[in-house]
């Protein structure tokens, strides 16, 4: 018992350390970019392969992946349609901030600085409600059935984004989405947005770590272990599963809104089935059994892709996009063969082995 208490204490300290480390890392990178000590910019460290643009994307997708990891790693429910929730958030923000002012709906309000923030909240509410409606009946089924339902849902939403010309602009999407602002303080250029995105990502990680170490987290893990056993012990499994699905959808929606305000233009492609699959790949590659798998997974996949894009042609003469995808697919397969629990669990295991030796 004491051993266990100690273990938990250790885990919590490790998590606190991790959050601090990530916060400092984010701060230092941001500071380097802003202050440019000795005329060095962040991208010089990476040979120009990883830019601030990429870092912001990693931050945004980290928010999605934290939700996905809670859903998959802790509640054991696979989602193949997370990009749909991401998309609903993005499109809600885009529609509310562009169409409303263009058509003069609520003229005074839709031009004020807090309107986009309200749109983000509305998006989160809509997505959460949607997830609740679809989740309640589907989550009664087990195992891969949520994956199948979310797969269907994701593709339906994508087709609606693509075909709903009047609202979503069809294939061209919606342009002219305004930047976020607080009062007259605009959260742009890109460095400011970087701090906003990563601050939100850090808060989301902290909240998720707290959930995992709470009563709810224990209930979720019990569901993952054995749903029947959890049920017998009085855990309302259906309720918890549906709550986690809603939470993951709300986080995806938040990230989608941040993405819309970052790009200032959205089109259906980033919300397709392929995007959902990529989110799943990131999540599993990072390791679904840990919140820390989220930033790891996104960063790894992004860095691998950026490096391949920037460097592959140097090794392989005349390499193009096809070659990148071939290597990318092989990397995913190899990671899954050698670290089926994902990178975080794989690294932890390797560390433990090194310590013993």
């Amino acid at each position: 018992m004491e051993q266990k208490e100690k273990g938990r204490d250790w885990n919590q300290r490790l998590n606190a350390l991790g959050v601090m480390f990530l916060a400092i890392l984010v701060g230092v990178i941001g500071w380097v970019e802003l202050a440019q000590p000795f005329g060095i910019r962040f991208r010089d460290f990476t040979g120009g392969m990883v830019t601030f643009d990429t870092l912001i994307r990693i931050g945004i997708l980290t928010i999605v992946l934290v939700g996905l990891n809670l859903l998959m790693g802790y509640a054991g429910q696979i989602s193949l349609g997370q990009a749909a929730f991401y998309g609903i958030g993005a499109y809600t923000s885009a529609i509310m901030t562009t169409l409303a002012s263009r058509h003069g709906v609520l003229p005074g309000v839709s031009r004020s600085w807090w309107w986009p923030w309200l749109a983000i909240l509305v998006g989160m509410g809509v997505t959460g409600g949607f997830a609740y409606l679809i989740g309640r009946p589907i989550l009664r089924l087990r195992g891969n059935y949520l994956a199948m339902a979310t797969l269907g849902l994701g593709i339906i939403m994508y087709i609606l984004f693509r075909e709903g010309e009047d609202f979503t602009g069809g294939n061209d999407g919606i342009a002219g989405i305004p930047r976020l602002a607080i009062g007259s303080f605009k959260i742009w250029p890109i460095e400011r947005y970087y701090f906003l995105v990563w601050a939100i990502a850090l808060v989301v990680i902290i909240i998720a770590l707290n959930i995992v170490n709470s009563r709810v987290g224990r209930a979720l893990r019990s569901i993952h272990g054995s749903e029947v056993a959890a049920n017998t012990m009085g855990v309302d499994t259906a309720k918890y599963k549906s709550q986690v699905l809603v939470l993951s959808a709300v986080l995806a929606s938040l990230a989608g809104s941040l993405y819309a305000h970052f790009q200032a233009l959205i089109a259906p492609t980033p919300f397709s089935f392929a995007a959902s699959v990529e989110l799943l790949v990131m999540s599993v590659v990072g390791g679904i059994a840990s919140i820390w798998g989220a930033p790891f997974g996104v960063a790894l996949i992004y860095v691998v892709r950026e490096v391949l894009r920037a460097r592959l042609h140097a090794i392989l003469h005349g390499a193009g996009g096809e070659h990148e995808m071939i290597v990318y697919g092989i990397v995913v397969v190899v990671i899954m063969i050698f670290m089926p629990e994902g990178l975080t669990a794989g690294l932890a295991k390797a560390l433990r082995r090194a310590k013993r030796a």
């Binding site: 696979i78 679809i134 699959v277 790949v281 697919g329 063969i337």
Partner: protein
């Protein structure tokens, strides 16, 4: 399990009424959908023959979904994996067939086509076997999610290799009857049926007959079925699960390749045709409860007809949505599959 039986006994009365309500809702949903389709068709001045024509064309595509769905069912019931590379087998079959046919072999076209078909099926089967050995076999015993991600990674690589080998241009395979690009068409009353449709239906019928023989009459087929019923027990009977996994991938690859080849003359195959076909085949497999072969075939045919009619009464852009709306309706109201048999899969997840 026992606990469930106990609950069922005390709540049998409730359960009965709930089942009745459930059936009522299902029927109401089906009637509602049919009424909606008829209303849309009425606005477009559709007559019965329009619907029949759409259904016939749809069943042609649906036959291919049926073959893909069978591949999903075979692999899923033996290994528990949902193989996302299933659609790529279809693409490989079609593209390899086109490539071999257009190579400069000096043979009469008939022989050349026959050779192309045989070689394409053999090559795709070999690719399925190699895929299983180098990706699934080394990861055996990993969580199923990891195995599914492996098939996704393989899909990405296969598609990129296809893009590298064949480019983005569409290929063509001659119609089997005329050996030209143009196919014969038959007219029955007001209905038009292309000759290739008969080839497709014929191929599906032959494949089903062979599969039936294989599963019911051969030791290997029975071993595969035993593995699907209970992997552990099958292993204790001396059946190697690893060999059965290999066999299931070979079978699924061959089924996909045959589907791709017979479909190729009716549509012009491209390197990226696999994704959507694979997903539709997956929906068809779900319609059959993911474990039932007859269910998967029926699912494929119904799906093909339904989506073509759906696209006919709305617009082509919405064609793909029909399959996934059906998927969600099936999961909500009939997760065990249209003709049942999937109850065990629903229980085990």
């Amino acid at each position: 399990m026992n606990q469930r039986v106990g609950v069922a006994k005390t709540e049998s009365k409730w359960k009965l009424s709930r089942e009745l309500v459930g059936k009522g809702v299902t029927v109401a949903v089906i009637l509602g959908v049919i009424a909606f389709v008829l209303f849309l068709g009425y606005k477009k001045h559709f007559e019965t023959r329009h619907y029949l024509q759409l259904a016939i064309d749809g069943i042609r595509g649906g036959s291919i979904y049926a073959l893909i769905a069978l591949g999903f069912v075979v692999i899923h019931s033996v290994t528990g994996i949902i193989n996302f590379a299933q659609g790529e087998f279809v693409m490989l079959g079609a593209m390899l067939c086109a490539t071999i046919y257009h190579s400069d072999l000096s043979l009469p076209p008939v022989l050349k086509l026959a050779l192309a078909i045989v070689l394409a099926v053999a090559a795709t089967t070999l690719i399925g076997v190699v895929l299983e050995r180098i990706t699934i076999y080394p990861a055996r015993g990993s969580p199923v999610v990891a195995l599914i991600i492996i098939t996704i990674g393989a899909t990405i690589t296969i598609r990129a290799l296809a893009l590298l080998a064949w480019g983005t241009r569409a290929k063509w395979v001659p119609a089997f009857t005329t050996l030209e690009m143009e196919d014969l068409t038959f007219r029955f009353g007001g209905l038009i049926v292309k000759a290739q449709s008969f080839w497709i239906w014929g191929a599906v019928a032959v494949v089903l007959a062979v599969l039936f023989y294989f599963f019911e009459r051969t030791v290997m087929g029975k071993a595969l079925r035993a593995c699907a019923v209970n992997r552990r027990a099958a292993q204790l009977m001396g059946i190697s699960p690893s060999r059965m996994s290999l066999l299931s991938f070979a079978l699924a690859a061959a089924l996909g390749a045959i589907g791709g080849i017979v479909l190729a003359p009716a549509t012009r195959p491209t390197y990226d045709m696999g994704l959507i076909l694979g997903l539709k085949g997956f929906v068809a497999a779900i319609m059959g409860g993911l474990v039932s072969s007859p269910g998967a075939v029926l699912g494929g045919l119904i799906l093909g007809a339904a989506e073509n009619i759906g696209a006919g009464v709305t617009s082509a852009g919405y064609k793909d949505i029909v399959a996934f709306v059906i998927l969600i309706l099936i999961l909500l109201f009939r997760p065990q599959g249209l003709i049942g048999g999937g109850e065990r899969a629903v229980e085990e997840g």
